[in-house]
Symmetry: C2
Subunit: 555 residues, 2 copies
């Protein structure tokens, strides 16, 4: 049997656009294959959130499903799509479902049984879980179905008291098909392969794993769909971070001959690189921005953000603005220029010195006291944020904010200042990872490098005389180890845990407690941050939900 994996990039809510993409694949492949498999919730996009509450939304989806059914009349292939199905009984109004369409008819529907409600997921908000295994006879083969989370309770840790894989295995499927919208983060590709090759062995059947690709706001889907045989041996792997349609023969003597393939997981840094570029590119494309504008301080964060933005949408659509003040070093100004020259990016220089001086003067004139340290520092960041927004308002360009996860964790960022922007690119990379990614970028792009001076200099916000980050924060390797343990300690790998522990052995409990306190007390800033492209196991945003006025300090 010939099976086609369609790994596509959907836009949430764009029913017509998503349906067109699906139709194109059907038109190209519909007579050359037996079965075309799309991914979870491919018509609505994943995750549609409260669009599901709009009464006309599902009616409109159904019209598009009818279009696909109609189209299927002209082709021989069966078509599997992820859809929202109505719940005929009590409970939530919908099921997260898959539908098998053949020759104009819906042949089979399966309802997802495990609905994730942790980290970034909240599927119980809209969906009622299915209760029965999905098995269906198709062209002489017993197809067994899973939808994404259904496959994540067959091995520890067990988050649900039922296991759809166990139930499916009892049905002895000839082929297991999993439709997924599985977000990408550190370690995810490896974990997926481990879990789903295990499922193939458990069910004693080959398994086809189809994932979507593309970014939706802060969440990026890598794709990296794959096929393995009943022994869990890799047979096919699709590339990550791009659309791809591939046909493979399964369940026939020929298939036995195809050489086995090692199912690979990308290196972390290569993953971050591709993931952030896709995150930027899709946000710009799906929102319809004509270009990007970034404040260039001469520091590593804005330099890397600029380099990634150029990679995502091309230098000609990227503008940098450097906004020096009396505290900006000569080096910083020069480094901004060298960077933008290397990248081929247009650079404006907007000195904020006069406005800063007159703000200070107005402040003491009105409030009868001079602006103190943090007040004066933030004025600079907020004038800069305003200038970036002026350029954005004037041109329609998207402002990318440039803070990293270390800074955002401890609140080392100015709300309405450097936190201004429609999307934050590095907000889920710790500072040490920002350096690693900058070095990786330079290796990949010898003709458009980030100047070494930017990588080498001591990090500074340059908001006061001779200021260094290390004046008020532990060194970044220490800070990052504390933060990783605190923010995602329950999710990191054994290897990461050991690395962090080795560093933390040398750190006093007071320093660790102080950092944790900073994290707790700056929740209000992160609540107002733009969406942060998610790359780690737990990012700021929907994946980490905490009260502001509440407080819990462990003593």
């Amino acid at each position: 049997m010939k099976v086609t994996l369609a790994q596509l990039n959907y836009r949430i809510g764009d029913l017509a656009g998503n349906c067109n993409k699906i139709s194109e694949v059907i038109q190209q492949q519909g007579n050359q294959t037996d079965l075309i498999i799309f991914s979870e919730l491919c018509i609505t996009g994943y995750y549609p959130l409260d669009l599901l509450d709009k009464p006309e939304f599902i009616a409109n989806q159904d019209e598009h499903i009818e279009r696909i059914k109609k189209l299927s009349e002209q082709y021989s292939a069966g078509i599997i799509i992820g859809v929202v199905d109505r719940n005929a009984f009590t409970g939530k109004p919908y099921h997260n479902a898959l539908m098998l369409i053949e020759k104009g008819n819906c042949r089979f529907i399966y309802h997802k049984q495990l609905l994730p409600t942790y980290n970034i997921f909240s599927e119980a908000r809209h969906f009622e879980p299915g209760k029965i295994p999905g098995v269906c006879l198709f062209r002489g083969h017993r197809l067994g179905f899973l939808i994404c989370e259904d496959g994540w309770n067959d091995q520890a840790p067990f988050h649900y008291d039922n296991n759809p894989v166990q139930d499916l295995a009892r049905e002895k499927p000839d082929l297991v098909i999993s439709l997924n919208s599985s977000p990408s983060n550190t370690g995810k590709q490896e974990e997926r392969v481990l879990r789903f090759t295990h499922i193939a062995k458990h069910c004693q059947a080959p398994l086809i794993y189809v994932n979507q690709t593309g970014a939706n706001d802060d969440i990026v889907y890598d794709g990296a769909s794959f096929v393995c045989d009943e022994k869990g041996q890799g047979v096919l792997q699709l590339p990550a971070f791009e659309e791809h349609v591939t046909t493979i023969t399964v369940l026939s003597p020929d298939a036995k001959k195809s050489p086995s393939v090692t199912l690979l997981a990308m290196d972390n840094i290569a993953l971050y690189y591709q993931q952030l570029i896709m995150g930027i590119r899709d946000y710009v494309a799906k929102c319809g921005f004509p270009g990007i504008v970034i404040g260039s301080s001469g520091g590593i964060d804005s330099a890397l953000t600029l380099a990634l933005a150029k990679q995502a949408i091309g230098a000609e659509k990227v503008t940098a603005i450097t906004m020096p003040s009396r505290f900006s070093s000569e080096g910083s100004r020069h480094d901004s220029e060298a960077l933008c020259y290397n990248l081929g990016v247009k650079l404006y220089t907007y000195s904020i010195d006069d406005e800063f001086a007159s703000s200070l003067q107005s402040f003491s004139g009105v409030f009868k006291e001079p602006a103190r340290g943090i007040t004066a520092e933030n004025i600079q960041a907020r004038i800069r944020g305003r200038v970036l927004m002026e350029y954005s308002n004037q041109t329609g360009y998207l402002v990318l904010s440039t803070g990293n996860k270390s800074e955002l964790s401890v609140g080392y960022a100015t709300l309405y200042g450097d936190m201004c922007g429609g999307l934050n690119v590095l907000g889920d990379l710790y500072k040490t990872q920002v350096y690693a990614l900058a070095n990786y970028y330079n290796e990949l792009h010898p003709a458009a490098v980030i100047p070494q001076e930017i990588i080498d200099k001591a990090p500074s916000a340059e908001l006061a005389e001779d200021q260094k980050d290390s004046d008020s924060l532990p060194d970044y390797p220490v800070l990052d180890a504390i933060l990783q343990q605190y923010i995602e300690g329950d999710l990191i790998s054994e290897h990461e845990r050991q690395q962090a522990s080795a560093i933390l052995q040398r750190v006093s409990t007071e320093v660790i407690a102080e950092v944790k306190k900073l994290v707790d007390r700056t929740e209000f800033k992160r609540r107002q941050a733009p969406p942060i492209i998610r790359v780690q196991r737990r990012s700021f945003g929907a994946g980490r939900q905490l009260p502001i006025s509440g407080s819990y300090e462990y003593c």
Copy 2:
């Protein structure tokens, strides 16, 4: 049997503080009553969100429960508290539970069966549902237990396929006790009384409904706990929006004699008034701000916000800053002064004209073109936002932002400008409701009124020459009817629906479509808004979750 209802104001995560409050009530009442009933999750505060994921958090809670057990040894009363209980089986790690403590021992535990996962609720994120009814013999009486949502599936609409009330009724309890953390919003008091008096009749037993009071970030709990007899007739109602501890005799011949009480629901406007004041007061107290600063434009929104802030924490802790520009009318300047004089609030005047002019000049100098309309308008709002933040950074005062729900809905607000602030007060009131509340305020406070000029003048952002809101938006009664239908049309009452429909009959479908488009396209702004005190059935924030880069426009 004597039963004490303890309607208290808890702080999320403040285990020691909450436990102290509970202990005080036990110390005062413990030998004068048979049973003291606290509310849902009273030790951790509701809702603790991902504090529940901190490994030491529940261990620490348990230490505090032990403190309460120990204390109970000295008193005769049984004590019912809402706690987080560990789940001994597969699934989510915890149960949302209640515990009956008597003489140092845990006598009984009940696990909440219905976990809400809609609107602002996400209890399935952390909790596993209980599966059995809660009935326990106590001093000769069969007590039947419910926790909040357990009681909300006994009448339509049915959101769950089980009904804990039905199961409880079969157990024939002598008394039904419901522990709640039920947020306040329009219509909620009436709905609660309807549903829970119906439960009393269904179970043929008197019912005690204990709710918490107090605000946590954007969510306010009114309290308004009550008792009804087995016929659903009111016996006792506690005041709303304050802590209250009351003892009542139930299940004895004497109780029959107590005169019946009408269980009242507050008027909407009175509810908004008290709810917003509690929202401000608790946010300031629980975060520990020394005071509040508000930008005073001379318009109705900032005037009402100032008046409510004064009511919440006293005039001496509230500062206003008026920041006129060339577009500010003489009336606006004068009205700000009159307002602050009436309220007794300190007013600073900070002219932004020079800074605005030099920003415009720098803009055209650097970018070689003049700042266009929206660019120039936003510069003014952002300079003002910066000044408010300067004052906040200097003094530690909380900035309250002043936008209303109508403006936030259509994006008629400047991100990083007038949207600056730690808390938004009026963001869940439509503009027409803002006027109604301002008039109500003036009736209540004849000595500290909002000047009539502020109420009477045509709304304007005053960011350009002779600008009026009505230049770019429909009149507010029309706009508000469209918005209410679009944002919470599925939740409003029949009466509200009829009112809105009557207005909308006269409005063209193009105007309605245009407003809906504005709402959809400005999601990115609301994502970066401060917490908005919730008063309506569906507010912006956790209660309405939509994608940004996705889009769905119904044609």
